[in-house]
């Protein structure tokens, strides 16, 4: 794996995703072109129904596009079978969900170990790596706790540790702070910032501008298309000017 920071890791070419509901077909994604470099921190924003979840599912190889091609780390994923996609999800992608999705009956350690089971790690190295990862997210003293003994923020940290334990190329987070209060959210976002500074590529889906502020690049979507794609500074300037215009109009 090359560590060249400007290497393109994700390339979407005219990606479409069409859902068939009865006779109607819904274009959830309508020709997306997108390129992501290693160590980018991207926030995907947009109203609900804009296709950002579908985009996340396709980026995370949970779903297949109905048209176009998706290269992940130079590999055409549209040609892979279910087993190949599972392997990619296991080794290249880490998921963080809004509702944590931890196994309630298992300890934090077991939860973090889980992806390693599927990458056929031995019992001992599994434990070691999971422990190390939990220490990295600041939960070294909580490895034996079950999810119901952890706070919301701690749960999400466990989930992040689980997503990171296989050393994924990209970390996909779907509204990671949606179920957290603002103070805890700041902690989680600080953790993302830290991971980003350590070289992790992060893609974040969110509604909240305050969350998106942490990202270096902001992609806004509507109706299955990318409507703006620019750096955080440009985006802010753009928003300000738009707001200004709306402000004038409202006057």
């Amino acid at each position: 794996m090359s560590t060249k920071p400007d290497r393109i890791i994700i390339r979407l070419e005219k990606v479409t995703r069409i859902y068939k509901v009865g006779v109607e077909s819904i274009h959830a994604l309508d020709g997306i072109d997108l390129q992501l470099r290693r160590n980018e921190y991207v926030a995907v924003m947009g109203p609900s129904g804009s296709g950002k979840s579908t985009l996340m599912n396709i980026l995370g190889c949970l779903d297949r596009c109905t048209g176009g091609t998706y290269f992940l780390d130079g590999r055409d994923t549209t040609r892979l079978g279910a087993g190949g996609l599972a392997r990619i999800r296991n080794t290249q992608i880490g998921f963080v969900f809004q509702s944590f999705e931890l196994l309630g009956r298992s300890s934090a350690l077991k939860n973090v170990e889980m992806p390693l089971i599927y990458s056929r790690e031995g019992w001992w190295s599994r434990r070691k790596r999971a422990k190390k990862m939990l220490e990295r997210v600041g939960l070294g003293d909580r490895i034996k706790h079950r999810p119901n003994q952890l706070s919301g923020g701690e749960k999400q940290r466990v989930a992040i540790a689980r997503a990171m334990v296989c050393g994924p190329s990209i970390l996909l987070a779907d509204e990671p702070t949606g179920n957290l209060d603002s103070k805890t959210s700041e902690g989680i976002l600080a953790l993302f910032d830290q991971l980003h500074s350590e070289g992790q590529t992060i893609i974040l889906v969110t509604h909240e501008e305050s969350v998106a502020r942490h990202a270096s690049r902001i992609i806004r979507m509507t109706d299955g298309r990318i409507f703006s794609d620019m750096s955080f500074e440009q985006d802010r300037a753009n928003r300000a000017s738009l707001n200004g215009r709306f402000g004038e109009m409202s006057k």
């Binding site: 087993g83 599972a86 990619i88 999800r89 196994l103």
Partner: protein, 420 residues
């Protein structure tokens, strides 16, 4: 080479990983798992104990048969219903001792034989007497065929035979009823009208519980030539095969030999018949196997019912853990891994049930063996029954676990993660 080894190795790792996950899941749901397996436990317990009881019954009957001697061939004169012997007198087709001369040389599969004749006689000693005692005429070879030991005195010898002496062996019950000394050799008793000198005491016959009392236990044995001379009797013979499996050969040789010595023409029917206990044994064995299979199968239906219980709970488990399945798929579990996880869980549940069931079955068997007068003391679980009920339990697990497991493996991860 490496490629050939890789596939089974991969499967083993997958299996190990599934067992690991399944055991964890079962441990997490202890109460439910135990309740679920009750069906299997009852099934395996009933199958094993029913088979154990039937096996015990069979073993008892067989051992009773065996006490009669399995490699013995009874040769009995037989009056044919057709042919030229139809109107012959019994004296003409009964056995004469001369007809058996040279039998051992001509019949290599027969290790020994004895001529037999029996009468019921009154025995007296002084003022005491026994009515209805059985008196047998026997050859000395009887001792090796019947395997009854002489506890006092000596067995018959060729001398007794050749000289036609009036000597006898008695059973302990004769001795006791006539109030003879423990060592009663040399004493003379009256059998019928004649006086016989006791040369020894022979053990009483092995009683078989299954067939009940087989004749009086008051027995007196006298040399066959003496009996022949005295009674001019009806005779039968007991031959003994060299090895247990040789009865067919022995019978063929005996038939050939006897047809010759009895001067039968090629078209004549046999004027004797032969009965081998081994044959009855084989028939009985077949019948017993059939009964065991049918009873085991009927009871085995309860295992199927247990299997349905497993399927039910696995289906509940799959729908309850839909989100978990989605998550596992999202972090990289292949469909095969999910399938195997749920399948192994079902099979492990069944095998656990099988293990406990076998234990309960063993307990039931011990209890069955203790039922008085039921002739089931020999009840035990044969190894094959354990194997079958375990194999069947595992098969039930695979069969009934397959549907829920496939259902789990086919779940779409996105749908599964959205599931409430």
């Amino acid at each position: 080479m490496k490629a050939i080894l890789a596939a089974p190795l991969l499967f083993l790792r997958l299996l190990y990983q599934s067992v690991y996950l399944a055991l964890g899941q079962i441990w997490a749901n202890k109460t439910r798992s135990v309740l679920t397996t009750i069906g299997i436990i009852i099934g395996v317990a009933s199958v094993t104990s029913v088979i154990a009881a039937l096996t015990g019954l069979k073993a008892k009957v067989l051992s009773d048969f065996e006490s009669l001697g399995t490699n013995k061939i009874f040769i009995i004169p037989h009056w044919p219903r057709t042919g030229r012997f139809k109107h012959f007198s019994w004296r003409l087709y009964r056995f004469h001792p001369q007809q058996f001369e040279g039998l051992l040389e001509r019949c290599p599969s027969v290790s020994d034989y004895t001529l037999m004749t029996e009468r019921t006689r009154t025995i007296r000693y002084g003022v005491r007497s026994i009515d209805g005692a059985r008196v047998y005429g026997i050859n000395p070879s009887w001792h090796t065929i019947e395997n009854r030991s002489v506890t006092v005195g000596r067995p018959f010898s060729l001398n007794d035979e050749q000289n036609g002496w009036q000597v006898c062996l008695i059973t302990p019950s004769v001795r006791d009823q006539l109030r003879l000394d423990r060592n009663c050799t040399g004493k003379r008793i009256v059998v019928g009208e004649r006086s016989f000198r006791i040369v020894g005491v022979v053990d009483k016959r092995v009683e078989s519980g299954m067939f009940g009392q087989m004749g009086a236990s008051e027995e007196v044995f006298i040399p066959f030539p003496t009996a022949w001379k005295l009674w001019d009797p009806w005779v039968y013979a007991i031959a003994c095969c060299r090895k247990p499996g040789l009865s067919e050969e022995a019978k063929a040789e005996l038939r050939f030999f006897l047809r010759q010595t009895r001067r039968l023409e090629p078209g004549d029917p046999d004027t004797f018949r032969m009965e081998v206990i081994e044959e009855y044994l084989k028939t009985f064995n077949r019948v017993a196997m059939g009964i065991t299979a049918v009873a085991g199968g009927v009871v085995g239906i309860s295992l199927l019912v247990g299997g349905v219980g497993i399927m039910n709970i696995m289906l509940v488990s799959v729908s309850e853990r839909t989100r978990e399945i989605g998550l596992r798929k999202a972090v990289g579990a292949r469909p095969s891994a999910i399938l195997l996880q749920f399948l192994v869980e079902a099979v492990v549940l069944c095998l656990f049930g099988g293990l406990v069931g076998a234990g309960v079955g063993q307990m039931l068997t011990t209890m069955i063996a203790k039922i008085p007068h039921a002739n089931l003391q020999m009840a035990h679980i044969p190894l094959w029954a354990l194997g079958i009920s375990f194999g069947f339990a595992a098969a039930v697990g695979v069969f009934f676990g397959m549907f829920p497991a496939v259902k789990a493996a086919r779940l779409d991860p996105i749908e599964a993660l959205r599931h409430e």
